[in-house]
């Protein structure tokens, strides 16, 4: 009867399983690795109303979605967060709040608990106060992000919420990984996600200053394994060597339009939170279309669904069912064509671009360039500054070299690779 250990994974059978609602891009913090759009301020005016969000929540549930994430920006800036969480819970969603913790209070947490909130993911930077506040882009005299987060983490646990501590790993906080894990253990956190920084938007701007080296990552991996052995299964630590160093891309979103759907603050339906970087695509809004139409009929969701769109080397590769050819946004940002194999793959003819980025980050250690904090109205200034950066210098040399070989080369949401776990087949 039982065949424990044989794996059966759910793919949603064409239904969205996970829906992320980016309630707002506004945020009290200014993280240097933030994956939000560089022009985040331009979304403030067009934010969806509570009634509009509720319609989306209903439609997603009717289509079979089970997990809902309230994120942003900082979702707690929305006064109607409690109402939306309550509604989602009522109609059967497992509700996740993805927050920086700034804006939460013990009182609000109690209301959220009563509304049925099931889990809180807290974004965390470091157990070192200075490093934490630097990465959060704040002046600690004005807003001590580190202390606020620590205090709210304790409140979250006091109320018995399961909690994920999400720490994007950078060169600055990597040396503190063992102490961060200890702190998480003391807090009673169930899950720690040592997240690989995805180099999109603010993180891409700061890539040279943020990216750890392979040696540093391997050291951190060994520390994580040592910690795992000591604490056993009371804490789950997610940590994988990042795609830039792995030779294989991430299984981005479990495949385009496969199980995941993000709704931006203005109602645009996105196959992943970074998708808007694909400028050749249009992103119709839930304000104008039903969620079902967007998912099933819109060209945007169909374009990279399945593997018909793939070029070589993915097309004839036997790993395509595992990584779906990687990330379309990364393919575009680094190779200039979203249809290309993700250059994180060692089989990609553009893999040297990723290798160059690693080299460039190494070179930048000497340069000691400042980190740019997330700030409104800075797109123009960033474009100007980035022309001078080491990354671009290397990248422009690269562009020439690739052009010489005949192919064109111009010049990156965290991926929910753990959205689905494998089920147990029991026959």
């Amino acid at each position: 009867m039982t065949k424990a250990g044989s794996e059966l994974s759910i793919d949603g059978d064409g239904k969205p399983i996970w829906v992320s609602l980016e309630l707002t891009y506004q945020c009290p913090l200014s993280c240097v690795f933030c994956s939000n759009p560089l022009d985040f301020e331009s979304y403030q005016k067009g934010e969806m109303s509570a009634a509009e969000w509720k319609r989306v929540i209903r439609e997603a549930r009717d289509m079979g979605a089970m997990q809902i994430g309230f994120t942003g920006g900082e979702p707690t800036l929305r006064k109607d967060l409690e109402e939306l969480v309550g509604y989602a819970n009522e109609i059967g969603f497992y509700t996740n709040l993805i927050t920086s913790g700034i804006g939460l209070t013990a009182t609000r947490l109690k209301v959220l608990k009563a509304a049925g909130l099931k889990h809180i993911q807290l974004g965390f930077q470091s157990c070192d106060e200075n490093v934490a506040n630097t990465l959060a882009g704040v002046d600690s005299a004005k807003l001590n992000s580190y202390r606020k987060k620590l205090a709210i983490a304790q409140e979250i646990k006091a109320l018995g919420f399961p909690m994920v501590l999400n720490i994007p790993v950078t060169r600055q906080n990597l040396p503190q990984v063992p102490e961060i894990l200890q702190l998480a253990e003391q807090l009673g956190v169930e899950y720690v996600e040592l997240a690989n920084v995805q180099y999109y938007n603010w993180a891409l701007v700061n890539r040279d200053q943020l990216m750890p080296s392979r040696e540093e990552l391997e050291w951190a991996e060994a520390e994580v394994n040592r910690f795992r052995e000591r604490v056993g299964d009371k804490m789950t630590i997610y940590f994988v060597i990042p795609d830039y160093f792995d030779g294989r891309p991430k299984a981005c979103m479990n495949g385009w339009g496969s199980i995941h759907l993000t709704i931006a603050p203005d109602g645009s339906a996105l196959p992943c939170s970074q998708a808007r970087s694909l400028e050749t695509l249009t992103f119709p809004s839930v304000r104008d279309h039903s969620l079902q139409w967007l998912w099933e009929e819109s060209a945007t969701f169909k374009v990279y669904r399945g593997n018909e769109w793939m070029k070589e080397p993915c097309r004839s590769c036997d790993e395509k069912e595992q990584d779906f050819g990687g990330c379309r946004c990364q393919a575009l940002a680094l190779t200039g064509d979203a249809d290309n194999t993700d250059p994180a793959c060692s089989k990609s003819p553009h893999h040297h671009i990723v290798q160059q980025a690693i080299k460039s980050a190494e070179l930048a250690r000497e340069l000691k360039q400042p980190l740019l904090v997330r700030e409104a109205n800075s797109v123009v200034a960033i474009k100007r500054a980035s022309k001078m950066s080491a990354a671009n210098r290397v990248a422009s040399e690269e562009a020439e070299c690739v052009n010489n070989t005949g192919s064109t080369c111009r010049k990156e949401s965290s991926c929910k690779s753990r959205v689905l776990s494998d089920g147990e087949a029991v026959e």
Binding site: M66, P162, G423, V426
Partner: protein
């Protein structure tokens, strides 16, 4: 993978409170929901987990399953249930109560 956790017949188990175990109409199956994850369970897995409420011992739960599934070979069922519970414990889905 060899299980790192041994499950004994006199023990009692509960579903880890971090997991939400429920029927999901759209999947036509029982599911386990947890922070940012979903596990779809087939009928037998769900039947075993349903008994993980802390009331029954593993042995008593086997009695019920034998009755529910009209199976005659109790030994085979016991082995399968223990194996499944060990795997579930490894995955953190269930916890022993003492």
């Amino acid at each position: 993978m060899e299980s790192t956790n041994q499950v004994l017949l006199q023990e009692r188990y509960i579903i880890n409170p971090v997991f939400l175990f429920r029927w999901e109409e759209s999947q036509d199956a029982h599911v386990l929901l947890y922070p940012e994850g979903v596990v779809k369970l087939n009928q037998t897995a769900a039947a075993i987990l349903k008994h993980c409420t802390g009331e029954l011992t593993v042995d008593q739960s086997v009695d019920r399953l034998v009755a529910e599934f009209g199976q005659s070979d109790r030994e085979v069922i016991t082995q399968s249930v223990v194996k499944f519970l060990e795997a579930s414990r490894d995955k953190g889905w269930i916890r022993i109560i003492d």
